[in-house]
């Protein structure tokens, strides 16, 4: 177990957004956070990264309390990808190099540049080094973001909807890269809306409703018409085929 979230309660402007959330993540885990908009997925990721302080409960990484650490130390352990990123004309390689920030003094060295190049080829974006970040497609931008996190050399990835607004090929590529990074001895928590994508790549699912984790387990245990009705309030059919799970809307 590398991450332990125990009894975390978070209030934003006197609204209780997270209510007593507890779970654990072990090495090799690829965890999907499923839940409707506003259920608290982003708040949970922000809290785990240390951006929001819980009013009670704590987040432990390797036994150390995240909220007692400096942000630069947290950034060496956790790779957080926020949902919204401003447009910038920086070159792709410079955006990736930003992942080295926790390790550099004033400016990055040639060693950092080498790490950034390696990270870019790891996500299949070699040859994009000198392109402007703002000129990339949505899928390419997210791959660059993953390269950034990869050269940040963290043990746990916190990704806030990395596949939203992407075409199906990019979605599959992004999740494939995340899976590859996890298989190298990391873990990841991914907020995601596509249940089928989640069940294809993730070994664990956490379903969040109104700031609480209401279902947790592997995809086969958790994904069924009842849980989805409960969490999302929508009627679906769950089809099992060759050991895989497919969720389709129940339309007659």
């Amino acid at each position: 177990m590398i991450l332990k979230v125990s009894g975390v309660k978070v209030t934003l402007k006197s609204v209780e957004v997270l209510k007593d959330v507890s779970f654990e993540v072990s090495e090799g885990d690829l965890v999907a956070l499923l839940g409707p908009n506003g259920s608290g997925k982003s708040t949970l990721l922000r809290t785990v990264f240390g951006l929001l302080k819980p009013v009670s409960g704590a987040v432990y990484f390797d036994g150390k309390n995240i909220h007692g650490m400096q942000i630069v130390e947290v950034a060496k352990l956790l790779g957080y990808l926020p949902q919204e990123i401003s447009a910038t004309n920086l070159k792709v390689i410079d955006v990736v190099l930003l992942g080295r920030t926790p390790y550099i003094g004033v400016l990055p060295s040639n060693r950092d540049l080498e790490a950034a190049r390696k990270a870019l080829s790891m996500v299949g974006m070699q040859g994009y080094e000198n392109r402007r970040f703002s000129e990339l497609s949505g899928g390419e931008k997210q791959k660059v973001m993953l390269a950034r996190i990869f050269c940040q050399q963290t043990k746990l990835l916190l990704l806030d909807e990395p596949t939203s607004h992407l075409d199906i090929k990019s979605q599959v590529e992004i999740m494939g890269i995340v899976k590859r990074i996890v298989d190298k001895g990391c873990a990841a928590i991914v907020a995601i809306h596509d249940i089928n994508l989640a069940s294809s790549f993730c070994n664990r699912i956490l379903m969040v409703k109104n700031g609480k984790i209401v279902y947790a387990g592997n995809p086969a245990e958790v994904i069924n018409p009842e849980s989805i009705m409960d969490v999302f309030g929508v009627k679906v059919e769950v089809v099992r085929h060759r050991g895989r799970i497919f969720v389709v809307p129940a339309v007659r």
């Binding site: 926020p82 990123i85 401003s86 910038t88 955006v95 004033v106």
Partner: protein, 348 residues
């Protein structure tokens, strides 16, 4: 006019570099070339600004005098006592405003942010006007009053608006109009004594001397150095505050440092030269269009560009008519069309 032609030359040359960029030239070679040109132009602007004036001193005579040749005592005194401090002051003010502009535009992620956004210029005007109204208007008093009231204004604006970038911008705008009202009131009450305050509203270098250079030197060097030191963190903040945090940047701390440095730079500039608009807004944008958004390159190139631009504009201000034109008029008349030209051919 010599130096402004020079600036156009850079743009034309860079056009050519851009054309061949897709081929072989690596970007680092481009940047070395740009910096080389900027340094040469900077030297040219420096010498031109010293040699041109009501009594022209030849280019080579200027170089000789700068190297310590006192053969012509009148020319020597003109240069050492008047032209040199004026040129150095113009460079310092330009550097301060351009660096603060770069930092503020990055911090606010707003292309309209400029060094005066914290209400510094109107704060300085109130300080100067008060000193004059109280009848204690020595040059030193005016400068220190302007400097400290500018710093206090920046601090008050920061305290009011520190919760978000938007409230900071709006607090600056509100404070600026409030203080402008006070300045106008003071001018109205004091009548004809207040022509000195008009200096702060127009801006210029015609009262430059070594004392002003001494006053501006430390704040400009210190503020600029600290902003350069944070150039990598400013890169991170381009992608958003939350993104900067995600790569380990302490954004609250960074915001305080950048705002304090900008306030220091701008207050020092305003206190010694009055309000010179446009430089802090346009030079960072112009260099961003040419060298890109990477602050490791952008800030040094904006510094060089300002050190070329400001003395060159001052040369025009003191030669284009028989008297002295306020520099702010020239920066606007020359800077705006040049910037529109860049905007039309750039990738904004």
């Amino acid at each position: 006019m010599y130096a402004s032609k020079g600036i156009n030359q850079v743009i034309l040359t860079i056009d050519k570099i851009n054309l061949t960029k897709e081929g072989k030239l690596t970007p680092s070679k481009n940047i070395i070339l740009v910096f080389g040109l900027l340094v040469v132009l900077c030297a040219a602007s420096f010498v031109t600004s010293i040699s041109v004036g009501s009594s022209s001193i030849g280019f080579f005579d200027v170089v000789e005098i700068l190297l310590g040749n006192e053969a012509n005592p009148i020319a020597y005194r003109i240069i050492i006592d008047f032209r040199l401090p004026r040129t150095v002051l113009a460079m310092l003010v330009g550097i301060g405003l351009a660096t603060a502009g770069c930092a503020m535009q990055a911090l606010f992620r707003n292309p309209l942010a400029d060094p005066y956004i914290l209400g510094v210029s109107s704060g300085a005007s109130v300080g100067a006007a008060l000193v004059i109204l109280l009848g204690i208007a020595s040059m030193q008093n005016i400068i220190s009053a302007a400097f400290f009231s500018a710093l206090v204004t920046a601090y008050v604006v920061y305290r009011i608006g520190r919760h978000s970038v938007y409230s900071l911008l709006l607090a600056g705008v509100a404070m600026a109009s409030f203080l402008s009202g006070i300045t106008s009131l003071l001018i109205y009450l004091a009548g004809k004594d207040m022509h000195q305050v008009v200096f702060w509203i127009m801006g210029g270098f015609w009262t430059a001397n070594w004392l002003k250079v001494k006053i501006a030197l430390f704040p400009v060097l210190f503020g600029t150095a600290l902003i350069i030191y944070n150039s990598w963190n400013l890169n991170a903040i381009l992608l958003g505050e939350e993104y900067a945090v995600s790569v380990g940047v302490d954004v609250d701390h960074l915001r305080k440092i950048i705002i304090a440095c900008s306030a220091l730079l701008t207050s020092a500039a305003v206190a010694v030269s009055g309000v010179i608009g446009f430089v802090g807004l346009i030079i960072p944008h112009a260099m961003r269009l040419i060298v890109g958004e990477d602050h490791r390159v952008l800030i040094p190139s904006a510094i060089l560009c300002a050190a070329i631009f400001m003395p060159a504009v001052d040369v025009i201000a003191r030669t284009v008519t028989s008297g002295e034109l306020p520099v702010g008029i020239i920066t606007a008349l020359l800077g705006a069309p040049f910037f529109i030209y860049l905007l039309r051919r750039g990738r904004y």
